[in-house]
């Protein structure tokens, strides 16, 4: 073969042959040293290592790591101090008994501590003796965290004081919390907004007509200060107010039922009462949860407007806010005395929307403080569970979708979420409930950031034939040329 070729072409000079070899080697090395790594770099996915083991561990041991107790302070004269010990023993055995009936999800205790309370956030029990032999009684103050137990002769003589105290604590004050831990109740009412440590409240005065109205904003502020006081320890609150005129009714007047000369809003109407597009309630600047409270004053032609079956002419919209319809206003103004009952209704709605358990006889006490405390403590555990669930779903996701990126950024947030969870558990176990709640919220946010990481977008699906279509024209010519060159070099 080579002989017949040499007849047509003159033999290649030596230097040209070495040049050809040089060209081949350089082309080949460019492909291997530059092309292949470049191809590999641009097509490979970066998948950082998730701390799978740690998260699974945390998920299985979360509830067992939590063991918190609620302190109750009791001040007693020295000779009666033995009562503390006896009551504590009784409390422990009663809780153990309850736990054996329906096991608690976490290790939960109540401790009775002799001495005055350390801060306003602690519970104080006071023992009082009654003159009347059968005059035993109980007063859980709705104003502050104070419980007054009045013992009568009968109780003292029969040595029932520890029993009385423990019954008050477990059956009157903490019953709801215990039932939730036992799994007999759920905290979810379907009305409350998802927990976040920031909350925006808007108070809106809507008028159907254009007659000017004045509302006493300084007393509104004062009422709000009071209404929000119990949430200030852990919520970052922002309040906005607005007045809007000509806020037209979202429901056609002709569709309203007229009864006794009143326009009636039935339950069907209520769910579409809010006029989202016209009432300026939308806020695109914040992603924090928002609750809207609306005072609606209908125009002359739809007055009086009544909410069916509502004593206070008001209603509550799940996860959104509260509405109150006001038909009678005097002198076109809302004074301090007018605002008081309105704000009372809104406060009640606010409690429900935030998720404070309702006051039910012998389940929850009337005291708003104690109920808010109970909600806070239960929220901590819910938040921790949620944060861990978020991390778990991140793991399942990364396992299931093999073409998804996992950047280092995600790992950072995962680690910080885990740290927050651990710290929150520590704080909870050492009775620092407010800090624990904040940390548990931080844990949720961090785990969300990890899950919703901007760079974690899956590559679009490519069918195999598409890959062929991309690679063939690209690789085909290169492979052909290098192969032919290689053959020629080898021949010589």
């Amino acid at each position: 073969m080579s002989e017949s070729k040499s007849e047509i072409l003159p033999p290649e000079p030596e230097e040209e042959r070495s040049l050809r070899t040089l060209i081949f080697i350089s082309v080949f090395s460019v492909i291997v040293l530059l092309g292949v790594p470049l191809w590999f770099l641009t097509t490979s996915l970066y998948r950082a290592e998730l701390p799978v083991e740690e998260i699974n561990n945390l998920s299985s041991t979360l509830k067992s790591q939590i063991h918190y107790d609620i302190p109750f302070y009791i001040e007693l004269p020295k000779p009666m101090r033995y009562l503390v010990l006896e009551t504590q023993e009784l409390l422990d055995s009663k809780l153990a008994q309850l736990s054996s009936e329906h096991p608690f999800d976490v290790d939960y205790h109540v401790s009775l501590i002799s001495g005055p309370k350390k801060s306003d956030l602690d519970y104080q029990i006071e023992l009082v003796n009654s003159e009347d032999p059968n005059g035993e009684g109980l007063f859980i103050s709705p104003y502050e965290r104070r419980i007054v137990i009045r013992n009568s002769e009968n109780v003292v003589v029969n040595k029932l004081v520890p029993d009385f105290i423990s019954r008050v604590i477990l059956d009157e004050v903490l019953k709801y919390e215990i039932s939730v831990h036992q799994g007999l109740l759920t905290t979810n009412s379907g009305f409350e907004i998802p927990f976040k440590d920031k909350l925006k409240l808007t108070f809106n005065l809507f008028k159907g007509d254009g007659l000017p109205i004045d509302w006493d904003t300084s007393s509104l502020e004062r009422y709000l200060d009071g209404a929000l006081e119990n949430f200030r320890t852990y919520l970052d609150l922002r309040v906005e107010t607005q007045v809007i005129y000509f806020a037209s009714l979202n429901i056609n007047k002709d569709n309203l039922i007229i009864e006794d000369g009143q326009y009636l809003l039935t339950e069907r109407n209520l769910s579409s009462f809010i006029n989202y597009s016209d009432w300026g309630l939308e806020d695109s600047t914040t992603t924090d949860p928002t609750l809207n409270f609306i005072i609606y004053i209908p125009s002359e032609d739809t007055r009086p407007l009544k909410v069916q079956n509502s004593e206070h002419n008001s209603f509550l919209i799940a996860q959104y806010g509260g509405v109150l319809i006001l038909n009678d206003i005097v002198d076109n103004q809302l004074s301090e005395t007018d605002l008081m009952p309105i704000l009372d209704i809104f406060t009640s709605q606010l409690y429900k929307l935030i998720g404070v358990p309702e006051h039910i006889e012998s389940l929850t006490p009337k005291s708003p403080q104690i109920r808010v405390d109970i909600m806070m403590r239960l929220k901590i555990i819910e938040n921790l569970q949620l944060a861990v669930d978020n991390l778990k779903s991140l793991i399942t996701l990364s396992k299931r979708l093999s073409t998804i990126n996992i950047p280092d950024f995600t790992i950072e947030h995962v680690n910080s979420a885990i740290e927050n969870i651990n710290q929150s558990i520590d704080k909870l176990n050492s009775r620092e409930f407010v800090d624990s709640l904040k940390l548990s919220n931080e844990a949720i946010e961090e785990s969300d950031r990890a899950f919703f990481s901007e760079n974690m977008v899956q590559q679009a699906y490519f069918p195999d034939e598409h890959k062929m279509a991309v690679y063939l024209p690209l690789i085909g010519p290169i492979v052909m040329i290098t192969c032919l060159m290689f053959l020629r070099v080898m021949k010589k």
Binding site: E229, N230, T241, V243, V457
Partner: protein
């Protein structure tokens, strides 16, 4: 052993009966809609009309604009070829201008991409992505997703540049399910071979309908001779025809809607996928997806909470740890008087209790700006 079986049977019965009770009502508390027209250019007028018609419908039935994500190229209303500038019609009678009032397009023009669509569903955005362009759903949200455009087997073309496959959407839904980002999804797609697009779904609680089978085309309904283009697709047209009769408080169900799908009308075989969906279709209200019916409670108010918050046990007024009025004033600089409340109530009076940033920062910024301008003019010389 027998007793065990009997017990098991009873248990099953109880479970089943409680299940049917739950079937009756949807448990969602909010509604969202994602409406996407994935095509572009004048000749795809009908896709824009499709999507705007649904936009109008869901808005009419009460979903607020902040909960509607509208994605479309938006290049027909003001197209030079449009004989009716600024208007989009979905019928040759031109009775209803879809572009008429208050259209809020969230993603327009070249923002309509596969990546943005996937990011939207999975909510993976940078920190400064605006709220109005995000799908901020939670476990209580029902989502209606409508896609229209040009598609084929297992893909939908996005603006002649790229395509999304059925696998991508299925995976995105799975990510949403994993993160509890929805209660139920109603997926509707009007494109050629549309039924292939939902065939790869594997996440729970998704109800899907498509306009046409594999190897079938979806057809347009009719053309407007003055516009010179088809104005609406058949499948969408007949859906809308039914939905037009629906009011906010309608009791019509999904089953009622699906019964109206006939080959004579649509000219292709509309597909319905229910295997991922647990509820009985004749119990699923259309307003569960197209409307925004909120859970409402009348009455059941607790008294005296405000009074308790305002007063001490002895009846004296309580002192509060934080005060809104103080809060507002402290944000205003000390050398200026606190802003008086706007007593002139003839105007809209919007009191923001949070004030803007302190003036010190502003002064510094102005100083910085001045210095940099001076420096810049100096270097120019």
């Amino acid at each position: 052993m027998k007793i065990l079986y009997i017990l098991l049977g009873i248990l099953c019965c109880v479970a089943a009966s409680s299940n049917t009770d739950d079937d009756q009502k949807s448990t969602h508390t909010n509604n969202w809609a994602v409406l996407v027209s994935s095509s572009r250019f004048w000749f795809n007028y009908r896709h824009m009309a499709n999507v705007l018609s649904f936009y109008r419908t869901v808005k009419r039935l009460g979903i607020p604009d902040s909960q509607i994500i509208l994605m479309m190229s938006d290049d027909v209303a003001c197209n030079p070829r449009n004989a009716f500038p600024g208007s989009v019609f979905n019928n040759k009678d031109r009775a209803l201008d879809l572009y008429g009032d208050n259209i809020e397009v969230d993603y327009r023009g070249y923002e309509v991409t596969v990546e943005n669509f996937i990011r939207l569903l999975t909510d993976r955005w940078g920190p400064d992505h605006p709220r109005s362009k995000r799908l901020l759903t939670d476990e209580n949200s029902n989502i209606f997703i409508y896609l229209t455009g040009h598609g084929g087997e297992d893909f939908l073309k996005f603006q002649d540049a790229e395509e999304i496959s059925s696998y991508d959407i299925a995976d995105a839904f799975q990510q949403m399910a994993e993160k509890k980002r929805y209660n139920e999804i109603f997926f509707m797609i009007d494109t050629c071979q549309a039924n292939t697009m939902y065939s790869k779904f594997y996440s729970p609680n998704i109800l899907a309908v498509g306009s046409s089978r594999l190897d079938e085309s979806s057809y347009s309904h009719h053309s407007d001779t003055e516009l010179g283009v088809a104005v609406i697709d058949r499948f969408t047209y007949y859906n809308l025809e039914f939905l037009e009769q629906i009011e906010k408080d309608s009791n019509k169900t999904m089953a009622d809607l699906f019964e109206t799908y006939t080959f004579e009308d649509i000219h292709s075989h509309a597909g319905i996928r229910t295997d991922l969906y647990n509820r009985n279709l004749s119990k699923v209200l259309l307003t569960d997806f197209f409307g925004n019916v909120q859970k409402v409670e009348v009455g059941n108010l607790e008294d005296d909470l405000l009074y308790l918050a305002m007063t001490n046990e002895d009846g004296s007024p309580k002192q509060f740890s934080a005060q809104l009025s103080q809060h507002r004033q402290t944000n205003v600089s000390s050398d200026r008087k606190p802003r008086p409340l706007n007593k002139d109530s003839s105007k809209e009076n919007y009191i923001n209790l949070e004030s803007t940033e302190p003036p010190l920062v502003r002064k510094l910024l102005i100083a910085l700006l001045l210095v940099s301008t001076l420096g810049f003019t100096y270097t120019l010389k």
